[in-house]
Subunit: 408 residues, 2 copies
């Protein structure tokens, strides 16, 4: 029988009535003829509570014990989901990570999946028993419980879909799909029927928090068809799939934004080999999430270096740069910061085969009087840093300019 | 190094500060040179919450899923206790039942311990790592999680003490030991330094809820020295041990009582073989906890049969008896009930070698004007059913008469 993985996040299993609602969705797929593996998160709030306790006991906690504690939330929902399925006539049993087993590395708190042995699961499918699997957890070579990092249940789900050769991996969450842009910014935002893995990865990294980046990477690597859909409606969601499965698409699939960005410029930097490392080494050590980087044309052996980072990291970035200057590790004249900027990006695999997309973006923004401060591009993305006050305007203008309110 | 098992119940690990307090007690024993295995319950209230969820999902739940869900509370406290011990400088790691492994039967919800493999634990003791074990849980031959029934953490602790050859099993709870009687009834009640397994078993079955009966049976079978003591003081508790370890003791060790007992009498029962089975069969089927049973002298082929049971089961008992009468399975003239009775018992291994103990009890009660309605005896116990209004008086008088305020 064809197999299906259905993953329910914390808000979808927040209490017994929501678990019941999720179970009804599982039943529907079972009736369609699927052998279903349900992957569940902890009830919303539970994992935070457990993490809070661990941190309160010990700021420098043993990650093995952290994993033993925080994995327990998923065990509860897995058991309750199995019971609920039984109650509505779907034969099911729960599986904890070690029971499957889902084998991981020993990197507690952020373990990587090494292997999923599906022998037992397959045997139980044969006996007509659907599976409910505690997400987020596995077992290390030493026999200790591991967790995959926050949001790891998405990754669990995709890994199970790959290992089971599932037809699809449905990720049920509190949004009903992936949109062309944030519907709070423009009512013209449209739910995408399909989106390519690469586009989803760019959108996720740009702040669209629908799916954990790692789970999309994994889906792409193993060609697992991912569907994002809402637990609270019966509408179809968005299918994240290979480019080949998308017959027609707009050149640009979505417009993303990131509101609280800051621009930091080092003026009068000595332009010599190793200068970039000299700047970004200390920033990396200080844990600054540097995003866009631009180096200006050099004059008289001096250059300007500009980068962006989250607004709330600017103070720390300045401190790290000043310390490097004081230590003589770095030479520059001054640091200028602008904390009133935002990033707006257009994303689309269509860009690969269409020229002039970036030009159209720049022209659109110019027509609205929006000044561009920094530009970066990738094969399927163009991002610009602009004044924050123009952010909504820029998103709306670009959404219109690229005709995103209509499907291709 | 000598080994010690220390068990902390739900109220002793109810929050992080109590876990810290318990950990300090463990540290003290570690400093005394013990390899310690700590057995923990779930935080108080947690197991009830989980059981409540399971029952709400499904009144006729799959006991395997029940076990998977309700065992999670102990996993949380085991991890938190290990972290707390590490934090105060005691090297420790947590163990879940399946990791040890503690092997049980497949009787989910009330599994019996079959074997504890201590190889890994012993290896880690050698490496200087103390153990924190999630109580109440084990693993079935099928690889599913099992639980030992409510209060099963006491049983886990005793089983680990037996398997590890521990010098003692300390049960930390919210009372500081076993008393000659309930201190709320007489201020003369005295904490016993030692008590024999057999006496503890009688007291437990009489309603002194200090230890789970099963854990005392197990301790007796494997000769595990059990100490009951408080997590909230530093006083020594009561040692439950073999008779041979008790040099001197009073003839009577304790006076127990059970407040809400009812007396049910069937009058005019045909006295023929099988009549007792005819009465107590239907009662057992109805789930009535019949305690004392007395049959009066037969006259004219008719007899009276009296038994006691909890007050709140009287209505069901009556119904079961009336149904049996209507079905013709049973013949009697009438049922008389008395719901205003209580049971008072004296317990002591000294009774075995001293005669006249029961007689002294009856004389003491007679002197106080207390009428005895039913009497039952065992080798080390005499119980009487009396009017409830005399219960406190009876307990006080017996406590005085047998000199329990002073140690032997």
């Amino acid at each position: 029988m064809p197999r299906l993985v259905m993953k329910f996040g914390g808000t979808s299993v927040a209490d017994l009535s929501r678990i019941r609602n999720a179970a009804e969705k599982v039943k529907r797929e079972v009736e369609r003829g699927f052998d279903v593996a349900v992957v569940v998160s902890a009830m919303s709030g539970k994992t935070n509570e457990l993490v809070g306790w661990v941190r309160e006991v010990s700021p420098f906690y043993d990650a093995r014990e952290y994993d033993a504690v925080v994995s327990s939330g998923e065990n509860v929902t897995a058991g309750l989901m199995a019971l609920t399925l039984q109650e509505i006539g779907v034969p099911a049993r729960s599986w904890q990570g070690w029971q499957v087993p889902l084998k991981t590395t020993s990197a507690h708190g952020a373990a990587r999946i090494e292997d999923i042995d599906t022998t037992l699961l397959a045997q139980k499918f044969e006996e007509g028993l659907h599976a409910v699997i505690a997400g987020f957890q596995g077992i290390s070579p030493e026999g200790r419980i591991t967790t995959l990092g926050r949001g790891g249940s998405d990754t669990s789900a995709v890994a199970f879909a790959a290992a089971l050769g599932a037809e699809r991996c449905d990720i049920y969450t509190d949004v009903d799909g992936v949109y062309t842009t944030d519907p709070r910014i423009t009512q013209k935002a449209r739910k995408l029927e399909r989106i390519a893995y690469e586009e989803m990865l760019e959108l996720a990294s740009l702040g669209a928090k629908v799916l954990q980046t790692r789970s999309v990477e994994l889906a792409m690597r193993y060609n697992v068809r991912l569907q994002v859909l809402s637990s609270f409606s019966d509408e179809p969601g968005t299918l994240v799939c290979a480019e080949e499965e998308i017959m027609e698409s707009n050149v640009v699939s979505g417009v993303a934004y990131s509101r609280d960005e800051a621009k930091v410029t080092l003026i009068g930097v000595a332009d010599r080999p190793g200068v970039a490392a000299g700047i970004f080494g200390p920033l990396a050590e200080a844990g600054i999430n540097v995003d866009m980087i631009v180096q200006n044309i050099s004059e008289d052996g001096l250059t300007d270096m500009t980068f962006s980072c989250p607004v709330d990291e600017v103070a720390r970035a300045r401190k790290a740069l000043d310390a490097a200057l004081a230590d003589g590790k770095l030479a520059f004249r001054e640091v200028v910061t602008d904390t009133e900027t935002a990033k707006v990006s257009i994303v689309g695999i269509g860009m690969r085969s269409h020229s002039g997309v970036a030009q159209k973006m720049f022209a659109t923004l110019a027509a609205e009087g929006v000044n561009i401060k920094v530009i970066t591009t990738s094969e399927i993305k163009v991002s610009v840093l602009i004044d924050r006050k123009y952010m909504e305007l820029a998103v709306q203008a670009l959404h219109d300019a690229f005709g995103l309110e209509k499907a291709a």
